[in-house]
């Protein structure tokens, strides 16, 4: 039986603009913060996993040169928006495998000024038509054969759900965004701690109907890091360390199994549902046991489908679930009390650790004004297109 793994220390930097820090500074700030929160040093780490998408290769080694070079293995990981969760899970697996009893996971991204998380290609047409690529295209297809943009892709994912089950219109999606922006007012580390009215959200610049600008994740700089420890090692540490530690009750990573339409519209549903099922089974809890959920609301249209995929509601019941008030911070299943990606921000590779930090913050009873009282179990979910899905179930310490 593999060992239980615990989070000993975890931190996130403020999300936003960090003009005075480069990528490595920002990652190092998070790494040193997590070590300090854990009460340990780099000298005790047996592995590092580091995630970054848009910087130079070898971010892990670059971080080590700033925080401590001890010769331990580094795994540089890249898994779209699930990169942070993948780094975390890499360390979990190393500890479960018995390779070491402590390790650190770091995720970092600098995205300020990158514009909207658009994707898509702007390559011009050639002078002579010549078939290129796996579709033999003679000219760029983005905009001619559907859209490559993220806002447009996730807009269709939400619209598809609305078509299948009904009740999801522009206003409903905008109200989901209104909830998350409202939540962010209590989060000093969020990129945008600003409440928007429904009218402001619906009246803002349309990006990809029905997603307006405030309904899209906010590009920003940020980093997050976590120190993980085996249960047997944790039991040798101080009572204070044991009390603040958070149990990783489940750490799951899935990819998208083949579905009929997945070649033309990514299926973010099946792999999330699969990950959630595996996570609930591993943790021995059900959705009804969760005190809070941080899910991947990269767009307002995405949050709706994940209520259903994470089984927070009945199949097809996401609209009713939202309308019942459940996912608001004073509801029965608070979702994205951090403000979510729309408001807290989405520095891609940091996101999958930062959402775990948010849940840990509540389980430790350290979330201040936005504390969900008595929180004992929480879930953190990310999804990266391609696709990859990470789900972590976290439990308050009973040590």
């Amino acid at each position: 039986m593999a060992e239980n793994v615990w989070i000993l220390g975890i931190t996130m930097t403020k999300f936003g603009k960090h003009a005075d820090k480069d990528l490595v500074d920002l990652a190092s700030l998070a790494a040193m913060g997590a070590l300090s929160d854990a009460g340990v040093t780099m000298g005790e780490m047996g592995i590092m996993a580091a995630g970054n998408l848009l910087g130079s290769p070898g971010i892990g080694q670059a971080i080590q040169k700033q925080v401590g070079q001890t010769g331990i293995p580094v795994y540089n990981v890249s898994n779209a928006c699930a990169t942070g969760a993948t780094a975390l899970r890499t360390v979990v697996m190393a500890i479960k495998a018995g390779e070491c009893d402590m390790g650190i996971a770091v995720g970092v991204e600098k995205l300020s000024g990158a514009g909207l998380l658009a994707g898509g290609s702007s390559k011009g047409d050639g002078k002579v038509w010549e078939p290129k690529g796996r579709y033999g295209a003679v000219a760029p297809t983005d905009g001619r054969v559907g859209t490559d943009t993220m806002p447009g892709t996730f807009a269709q994912i939400g619209m598809e759900y609305g078509h299948k089950y009904g009740g999801a219109d522009f206003e409903l999606f905008a109200r989901i965004s209104e909830k998350n922006h409202g939540h962010s007012v209590l989060n000093p580390l969020a990129a945008y701690s600003k409440r928007f009215t429904l009218e402001e959200i619906m009246g803002d610049m349309m990006i990809a109907y029905p997603n307006t600008r405030p309904m899209c994740s906010a590009n920003c700089d940020g980093a997050a890091a976590a120190v993980l420890v085996s249960e047997s090692k944790l039991r040798t540490l101080s009572l204070e360390q044991q009390r603040r530690a958070v149990k990783v009750a489940a750490s799951v990573l899935t990819t998208d199994p083949f579905e009929e339409a997945c070649q033309i519209l990514p299926d973010v549903n099946t792999l999330t549902r699969n990950a959630a099922k595996q996570a609930y089974e591993a943790a021995g809890v059900g959705p009804e046991d969760l005190d809070l959920v941080e899910l991947h609301d990269c767009f307002a249209t995405a949050e709706l489908v994940h209520y259903d995929n994470l089984m927070l509601c009945e199949v097809g019941g996401a609209v009713d679930f939202f309308n019942s008030g459940a996912p608001f911070r004073d509801g029965k299943m608070p979702v994205n009390v951090s403000g979510g990606l729309q408001s807290k921000g989405h520095p891609i590779s940091a996101t999958g650790i930062a959402n775990v930090w948010e849940v840990c913050h509540h389980l430790r009873g350290e979330a201040g004004d936005r504390q969900i009282e008595g929180a004992k179990v929480g879930l953190a979910h990310v999804i990266g297109l391609g696709s990859a899905c990470g789900v972590h179930v976290l439990e308050k310490s009973s040590l």
């Binding site: 579709y135 003679v138 859209t147 806002p151 339409a261 070649q263």
Partner: protein
């Protein structure tokens, strides 16, 4: 080549078949029936590696859409990007020949394939694109 000859045409993508009866084709796995618009080394569903070319229905219904108002530089906006259910095979395409707004484009609406020139290269060859218009 005489001056009255029609300009040569090429399809925008190789799974669009031009001619009197334009239609899309897919590579269908001979083992499980999964369909792919691009070439696959093996079937993503059943791992077998034999495929045959099949024609896709030209009529369908809109299963999902978005109106893209903000795209990469050089991509004209707005346009309606959609997922069309063509007799059980999902197709990615733009919705065309209708005003681009949620009053005219609705979930579940019936649409049919249409083709149109997207421009000519320096040899005068026309590239032909495709979209779906209200049926």
């Amino acid at each position: 080549m005489t001056e009255t000859a029609a300009p040569a045409q090429v399809p925008l993508v190789d799974y669009l078949v031009l001619g009197a009866d334009p239609h899309l084709i897919a590579n269908e796995c001979t083992s499980c029936g999964a369909r792919f618009f691009d070439r696959r080394n093996a079937c993503a569903a059943c791992f077998k590696s034999e495929f045959k070319s099949v024609a896709i229905a030209t009529a369908g219904s809109v299963r999902a859409y978005t109106i893209v108002a903000f795209a990469a530089p050089g991509v004209p906006v707005p346009f309606a990007a959609a997922t069309i259910d063509c007799g059980g095979t999902s197709v990615r395409a733009n919705i065309v020949n209708t005003p681009i707004d949620p009053q005219h484009i609705t979930l579940g609406m019936s649409v049919q394939l249409t083709t149109f020139p997207i421009g000519a290269d320096e040899n005068g060859t026309e590239a032909i694109g495709f979209g779906f218009e209200p049926a």
